[in-house]
């Protein structure tokens, strides 16, 4: 190959309490697709953000076409030809598609906005990319997949030499994915280098030329795509075999704890019916937007229920609220621990006991000694590090933060746990500890609803699996003996096996090894 397009040397980036990137080197040739592969939290996104100017690295150099670069910000990077399409959208919801596409580089005529020209160009770009979108629509009203299209269009509008795509297919349909892949081929022909993040191995094999596997902030291997196979990638990604990660859960489900009948919500869930028993882990799987999270949220009282019944230990719950649910022994752990789970500026101790403070009171005051000894016990048991309980929790790594949040379940009696993406964004070691927590609670007789996008964990941990599709239950199956294909077919609402065998670009839903949605 000719000279390198982009080269990053020994990049280190530290956030409070976490070394997100540890001495990572990475390069990109012109006209190649270089895949970044790794678990959530392995550092893929951080690396792309460093390359695209969103973060300044603490150490290390970046060279663009052999010239040393220090991007001041994403605009600086973009003006030098490095464009990025992230998972989190960088669009302004209140503006239209055209306004977003031209944000910060509006076309003008005589000092006034040239709306016609912008509209014309936006139409052309959208058409060129094959995206069927109304350029005058407000972005806030678009579906997730549509917003993704706007995001991609935005990147494609610029003259670029490096394009970063972070999970671009996560919410696109088959047709749109095919179109995207054609565009990638076209860009490769023009000598553009592409950094591509995805979890779908089949997809990677189709578009990738080389692949780098990140684990715990380190680049553990860079391989040619031809040398890579599923087994190898997974062991590189996790650093161990599946069997080591997932504990064996020995329980015999007892009497019914929660029964849900024909539940429907304002947000579009309908006809949800299931039972969870003591000691049982009920896995809930599904794609983005299929409604799996909403099931947990509705049960805990975070979404308005419009029909059906929720029966908790024989008691019909009219309208669940968080306060009421906790009283009944239901505890919910949200998927987004920063947004809904933790009070980041407060200490480990306060975060741990906040759902159970009345239990620590003595004559109206908090019994600080008893609280502290309880917290210390839990921190030790859950192996939270560093174990300094008075430190603000934002100094802890994601995995340790997650453990603190989950350990709220140890501060009061819980009969039903609802986990929403409990292992999201944490490293393998912490994952295993989360699973062990789950196992212990189930073995103690708690019922568990385990909502997750990571198919492997749902398959390994659940006694029963509910697969959601378009707000309803597509399928219920016992966890034992269920295969990935079974679950995926239900996830997509069609026969997955068939689609896969059709081969050739007609599917985007490649074997989802680690995660369906990332």
């Amino acid at each position: 190959m000719s000279e390198l397009l982009l080269k990053a040397e020994n990049i280190t980036k530290t956030f409070p309490g976490v070394k997100a990137l540890d001495n990572v080197s990475f390069d990109l040739r012109p006209g190649e697709v270089h895949v970044l592969f790794g678990e959530n939290g392995a550092g893929k996104s951080t690396l792309t953000k460093v390359l695209a100017g969103s973060y300044l690295p603490d150490e290390g150099q970046i060279y663009l076409r052999g010239k040393k670069m220090a991007f001041k910000n994403p605009y600086d990077a973009r003006s030098r030809g490095v464009s990025a399409v992230y998972q989190e959208f960088s669009l302004v919801p209140k503006l239209t598609v055209v306004e977003n596409l031209f944000l910060g580089r509006e076309l003008t005529k005589h000092g006034l906005l040239d709306k016609e020209a912008m509209l014309r160009q936006a139409r052309e770009s959208l058409e060129d990319l094959g995206f069927d979108l109304n350029p005058m629509a407000k972005v806030g009203g678009l579906k997730r997949a549509e917003r993704q299209m706007v995001e991609i269009t935005k990147a494609f509008q610029e003259k670029m030499s490096v394009l970063i795509l972070d999970e671009p297919t996560a919410s696109l349909s088959d047709k749109e994915v095919i179109r995207l892949f054609e565009l990638i081929v076209r860009l490769k022909g023009e000598g553009v280098g592409i950094i591509y993040i995805s979890h779908r191995i089949d997809e990677l094999k189709k578009v990738g030329d080389r692949i780098s596997v990140l684990r715990d902030g380190r680049n553990v291997a860079t391989l040619d795509m031809a040398e890579a196979n599923e087994e190898k990638l997974i062991s590189l990604m996790t650093g161990r075999d599946y069997e080591e990660i997932f504990p064996v859960i020995n329980t015999t489900p007892g009497k019914v704890v929660l029964e849900v009948q024909n539940l429907s919500t304002v947000t579009g869930l309908h006809d949800i019916s299931f039972k969870v028993r003591e000691g049982e882990i009920l896995g809930i799987a599904g794609l983005v937007g299929a409604g799996k999270s909403r099931v947990g949220r509705a049960l805990y009282g975070l979404e308005k229920i419009t029909g059906g019944t929720v029966i908790m230990e024989g008691y019909a719950v009219e309208e669940p609220t968080p306060i009421g649910s906790l009283k009944l022994g239901v505890m919910y752990f949200p998927a987004d621990r920063h947004k809904e789970g933790l009070v980041l500026c407060r200490s480990v101790r306060e975060n741990q006991t906040m759902a159970a403070l009345p239990l620590f009171e003595k004559r109206g005051l908090i019994d600080l000694k008893r609280e502290e000894s309880t917290v210390r016990g839990i921190v030790k048991k859950m192996n939270v590090r560093p174990g300094r309980i008075h430190k603000a929790i934002n100094n802890l790594s994601g995995g340790n933060q997650q453990k603190v949040m989950l350990s709220r379940g140890l501060t009061r009696e819980v009969k039903l746990f609802i986990f929403d993406e409990a292992s999201c964004g944490i490293d393998v070691g912490a994952k295993r500890e989360v699973y062990l927590f789950l196992k212990e609670q189930a073995e103690k007789g708690a019922a568990v609803i385990f909502i997750s996008s990571e198919l492997t964990e749902v398959l390994h941990l659940s006694h029963n699996i509910v697969v959601m599709h378009a707000g309803a239950m597509a399928k219920t199956m016992p966890g034992k003996g269920a295969s990935e294909e079974d679950v995926l077919s239900a996830c997509f609402g069609y026969d997955y096996q068939n689609i896969c065998n059709n081969g050739d670009g007609s599917q985007d839903n490649g074997s989802v090894v680690n995660s369906i949605e990332g």
Binding site: P16, Y300, L302, P322, I323, S325, L326, K327, Y332, P334, K339, E340, G341, L342, V343, L344, C345, R346, E350, M354, A355, L357, P358, E361, G364, L365, I366, L368, R408
Partner: protein, 319 residues
């Protein structure tokens, strides 16, 4: 250098300002360090300290209360009106004090309910309430001060001493101790911090977010009422324009004292030192014959500076 940075990240800009100011004033004006002046600063601080304690509670809950200023004026008018209309001085004082504190508490309750239940921004609600309270104070008093209150009010609550310590200082100390206890040892305090730091996380943890948010404003109202009564006692008249500087000064005091405007962070001790700083500054400027107009300019700049430093501190923390 490293130590200074650590102090800054931990407690904010306050210690630096305080040291700088004390040095400046003692050099520029020899009377500043005299015992009588320091006592004077202590006495003046009490009023601001109590309002700041209340203000701080609302800021912890990620809000603030602009209405504290004329809520003090309204308290002053209500207290004095009640007192002059009752013949027996002891009864008059008791009723007047209760009515005044009650009025301010009601103002706080109105703020709290509107903010917590209807989820209107604290800025709009308390700004509106500022005007309501001032309007009512002027309306009831026809805009003129009310005199002829029981003499004991001024001699006991205003100028009295117990064990040689001025009564206002004792009241302020007691209140600060209670708020400290509330924040560090009770559920209510923890909930303030939690819901101010992350409302959603607090809600999901089973905290009655609306109730406790409203409670912060109610408590702020009560403390404002106490300040209103004590200021009335001090000036020995009901004043419809009392306390106009308090919103700015109490917010500035809290923020300089390390209470974050984003909510969820800060200590009562820091806030009180913030109040001490502001009073010291005013006192020093008075001694140096700086015009009160210029003082207003300085105070405004100080508030903005404090918030800028708070932002700066946050970014240093993040790094």
């Amino acid at each position: 250098m490293d130590l200074l940075k650590r102090i800054f990240v931990k407690v904010g800009v306050l210690p630096f300002l305080l040291v700088a100011l004390i040095a400046l004033f003692s050099l520029a004006e020899h009377r500043f360090m005299s015992m009588s002046n320091l006592l004077n600063v202590g006495r003046q601080t009490t009023y601001l300290a109590i309002v700041t304690a209340g203000q701080m509670l609302t800021i912890l809950c990620a809000g603030f209360d602009l209405s504290v200023g004329f809520s003090v004026a309204l308290t002053s008018i209500v207290t004095s009106m009640v007192m002059v209309s009752v013949a027996d001085p002891t009864t008059a004082m008791l009723l007047g004090i209760l009515a005044g504190i009650g009025t301010a508490t009601l103002v706080g309750l109105a703020n709290g309910i509107t903010i917590a239940v209807f989820r209107v921004s604290p800025f709009v609600v308390t700004l509106g309430m500022l005007s309501v309270a001032h309007g009512l104070a002027l309306l009831i008093s026809s805009g003129v001060p009310i005199f002829n209150m029981p003499e004991q009010l001024n001699t006991i609550l205003g100028l009295g001493r117990v064990w040689g310590i001025p009564v206002p200082v004792l009241v302020a100390l007691a209140i600060v101790a209670l708020i400290w206890l509330l924040l560090s040892r009770t559920r209510v305090g923890r909930y303030f911090y939690a819901l101010g730091g992350n409302r959603e996380a607090a809600r999901l943890s089973g905290i009655a977010v609306r109730k406790y948010t409203a409670l912060a404003y109610v408590l702020c109202g009560t403390l404002t009422g106490i300040t209103g009564v004590m200021l009335t006692a001090r000036v020995a008249s009901g004043e419809p324009n009392l306390g106009a500087n308090l919103p700015l000064e109490s917010i500035a005091a809290a923020v300089i004292g390390g209470v974050s405007l984003r909510g969820g962070e800060g200590s009562i001790i820091g806030a009180i030192f913030g109040a001490i700083l502001i009073v010291t500054m005013r006192n020093g400027m008075d001694l140096m014959n700086i015009s009160s107009y210029l003082q207003m300019v300085v105070m405004g700049c100080l508030l903005i500076f404090a918030v800028v430093m708070d932002q700066f501190r946050l970014s240093m923390k993040g790094r």
